[in-house]
Amino acid sequence: MFQALGAHGPVLSPLAELVLDVVLLGSAFLLLARPTKRPVFDSLFMICLVVSVSLLRVVMQPLPNVQPVTVAALLVGAQLGARRGAAFAVLVAMISNIFMGDGWWTVFQAAGWASVAIAGSRLPLVTSTGLNLGRVCMASIVAAFWFDLFVSFSILDGSIGFYEFIIYLGHGLPFDFLHMAGNLTFAVWLGKWFFNLLEEEPTLEEIEFAVVNGHGIDG
């Protein structure tokens, strides 16, 4: 995207790109590496999730700055927690950029979406009645601007001053608003469906524990 604008971040050598990819991949696995009751199911589910959202991002590339990943990261963070949300963000950024162009900016995109996922896990987006769509919409608007700002830092390579950077941000405002509009549309159309998709089915042990615990309280 930034090359298209004529603005570049630092240009990485092939070795540096390899190191970068290894670090990103390593951090994603580190985030995911923790004991789980259903390791195979959880892994398959995460793979499907990452691949499908990455594919969606690639398919939607012709639409300028319409980013389905932002809302997805927000909801994954809200439903699956900060660790898996951040891992999801890093993996989606890496895989989709294999097709859309890898580079220095991948780090910022991965970090930007990871921060959105973490914010999703911390914000009260889920209430006792389920997903609060109004809050998700508000969060997705803020997330659009935050992500775009964060990724814009990738052009700072020492040749651009503060004033020029502000000019650069100013030029991008229409695209930020489009990102915001895209997020809102994704949130209202697919937010609840995607959230429910992410909802974990309780295991038999968890159901049994809940029942016993309930009886204990009753008793």
């Binding site: 298209a4 604008l5 004529g6 570049h8 650069y168 100013g170 229409p174």
Partner: protein
């Protein structure tokens, strides 16, 4: 409730024929047939060709040899006059002069040609032989303006002034200094001549050469003012917009200011109707006591506009891979648009030429692609125009566009119904999708306008790119491009008339003989390679400032230095 959605669907289906009816029936393409073409292979056709009664004259310049070439009606070359001293783009329109006599002598039929090396030549139309020539001053470039006739004189706006020359022998009667001008044509009135300059000053020069200045402060005045019943029309070019100003010559003041888009085209008058164009639209003004905008159509044109008759206007579309636009005006307030595909695609500023000869109507097209194409039709059709068959379906029906419009109708209709029924969640869904589509469609225009506005409000001071004393003086105040190839600067200067980094770079690469690899991305044009060198991309600097928008959105001034560096 259950019946409302089918009703809405039916309503939308009923609206579909209304949409398709707006698609213009292209009578012109059906009635005109391709006659011949000539490929100059290089150079630009920046101004309208000229018909002298026997020959079609075309001027070409740019990266090819600067020349005026004459063709017969069959497309065979009759003669060609080359001026290798004219190193920049020649944009001064050719002027056809009938034979006559005056106090300063007798003159034959001639074509007057202005060159960017400052030379003005009178050529014999039949064989291209030189009748006389005159040298005008050169400041970066020489003549770029449109001449005018005033009795036995030709009035020539030069780079720094206006001169009056005798048609019989080309002798200068007088020359008066005005402001620094660029493509600044002249209008002849009862009291003398009017012309503008780059500082936004309108100049009046009487027939003795006495000047009076009127600083309008509305922007650059680059086209000949136009006399109308409402006053003298000046289309002044601002940074991100323009103003159609009505100037009252009786008291030297501006009586009306009408807003228009950026980079104005050359206005053209037919009766009381004035057509203007710019980077955003084509507008029709009715100018009687006052000028009033009566019709407008989105379009991007920056060159010559041409009325072919009282209802038909043709304008060159000035975008990559573009063509011409044909506008039909009903004389009241309706303006319809049809794209005219003449088989030449690319940037264009030259209006087509239309004339009748040998019982046929000839229409001649040329643009920056150095290709001249001629179409003909029987002249009877000119005198007995056929009514437009309104019911005939257009062959240009664009299913994609119509489908999108249909979906938009569905979404806005659904949103309204859902809102009235209190189904707020579904209302938000349909309305958000509606606004998202709208936003995506208008984003390119908004982004361009916003960037221009932003640059205007927050200019970047850049002094890093300095003038090199080794460059020729002729490049002073012109556009210069530096391309770093294998660590060495390849420089080309003396370029003029470009509005964007993209257009300027294209011209520079053509002149340097480099291939330019371009990719259209969602954010605009991206330069992939120059002279086959891709590297990790290319980045550009305008006057030392790093480019932060796509090349087709990056504006350049008349003396900008653009540097390209491989990453």
């Amino acid at each position: 409730m259950q019946g409302r959605f089918p009703a809405l669907l039916l309503l939308s289906l009923l609206l579909l024929p209304l949409i398709s009816a707006q698609e213009g029936y292209n009578e012109w393409e059906d009635t005109n047939t391709f006659a011949w073409e000539h490929d100059f292979e290089s150079g630009f056709i920046s101004t309208s060709p000229l018909f002298t009664g026997e020959a079609v004259l075309v001027r070409t310049s740019g990266n090819g040899k600067p020349a005026v070439t004459a063709f017969d009606l069959e497309g065979d070359t009759i003669w060609q006059r080359v001026n290798n001293q004219s190193s920049s783009n020649d944009m001064s329109p050719l002027l056809h002069v009938s034979a006559g006599e005056g106090t300063c002598g007798v003159w034959p039929e001639m074509v007057v040609v202005g060159w960017t090396d400052g030379r003005v030549e009178a050529l014999q139309p039949s064989n291209g032989e030189l009748l006389w020539s005159a040298q005008t001053e050169v400041a970066g470039w020489g003549v770029t303006s449109e001449f005018a006739l005033d009795g036995e004189f030709v009035i020539i706006p030069t780079r720094k002034g206006i001169g009056q020359y005798c048609l019989a022998d080309g002798e200068q009667q007088w020359w008066s200094q005005t402001g620094l001008g660029w493509r600044n044509g002249v209008a002849v009135g009862d009291t003398g001549y009017f012309s503008g300059d780059e500082s936004g000053v309108l100049w009046h020069v009487d027939r003795m050469g006495v000047t009076t200045s009127y600083p309008l402060g509305l922007g650059k005045i680059r086209h000949p003012p136009v006399f109308t019943d409402a006053g003298l029309i000046v289309h002044a070019q601002g940074v991100s917009s323009s103003t159609v100003a009505v100037f009252d010559v009786s008291n030297g003041s501006v009586s009306q200011q009408l807003p228009a888009g950026p980079s104005p085209a050359k206005p053209a008058l037919y009766g009381s109707f004035l057509v203007t164009g710019d980077s955003s639209s084509v507008q029709i003004f009715s100018c009687t006591v006052l000028c009033e905008s009566v019709a407008q159509m989105p379009f991007l044109t920056n060159g010559e506009l041409r009325w072919l008759d009282d209802s038909l206007i043709i304008a060159p579309l000035n975008t990559p891979n573009s063509n011409w636009g044909m506008f039909t005006f009903d004389g009241l307030d309706n303006l319809s648009f049809t794209e005219l595909d003449v088989g030449i695609y690319g940037y264009g500023t030259a209006a087509p030429l239309q004339f009748i000869a040998d019982g046929k109507v000839f229409t001649v097209f040329g643009n920056d692609q150095s290709l001249l194409r001629v179409f003909t039709r029987a002249a009877e059709q000119e005198t007995q125009p056929q009514p437009l068959p309104q019911s005939q379906p257009s062959t240009d029906f664009d299913w994609g566009v119509q489908g999108l419009i249909f979906i938009m109708f569905l979404l806005i209709g659904s949103s309204t119904v859902l809102f009235l029924n209190g189904k707020m969640e579904w209302f938000f869904r349909t309305s958000s999708l509606f606004f998202l589509i709208i936003f995506i469609l208008i984003l390119p225009d908004i982004s361009t306008q916003w960037s221009e506005l932003f640059d205007e409000q927050f200019p970047v001071d850049a002094n890093d790119e300095q003038w090199d004393d080794e460059w020729p003086d002729a490049w002073l105040d012109t556009q210069i491009v530096i391309i770093e190839i294998d660590g060495e600067d390849q420089v080309i200067g003396g370029l003029t008339g470009h509005d964007t980094v993209y257009s300027l770079t294209q011209d520079a690469c053509e002149q340097l003989g480099y291939n330019l690899g371009v990719e259209l991305t969602e954010l605009g044009y991206y330069i992939e390679s120059i002279n086959g060198i891709e590297g990790n991309g290319w980045e550009y600097f305008t006057d030392g400032s790093k480019g932060v928008v796509s090349v087709d959105s990056a504006a350049v001034e008349s003396s900008t230095i653009v540097r390209w560096i491989p990453v």
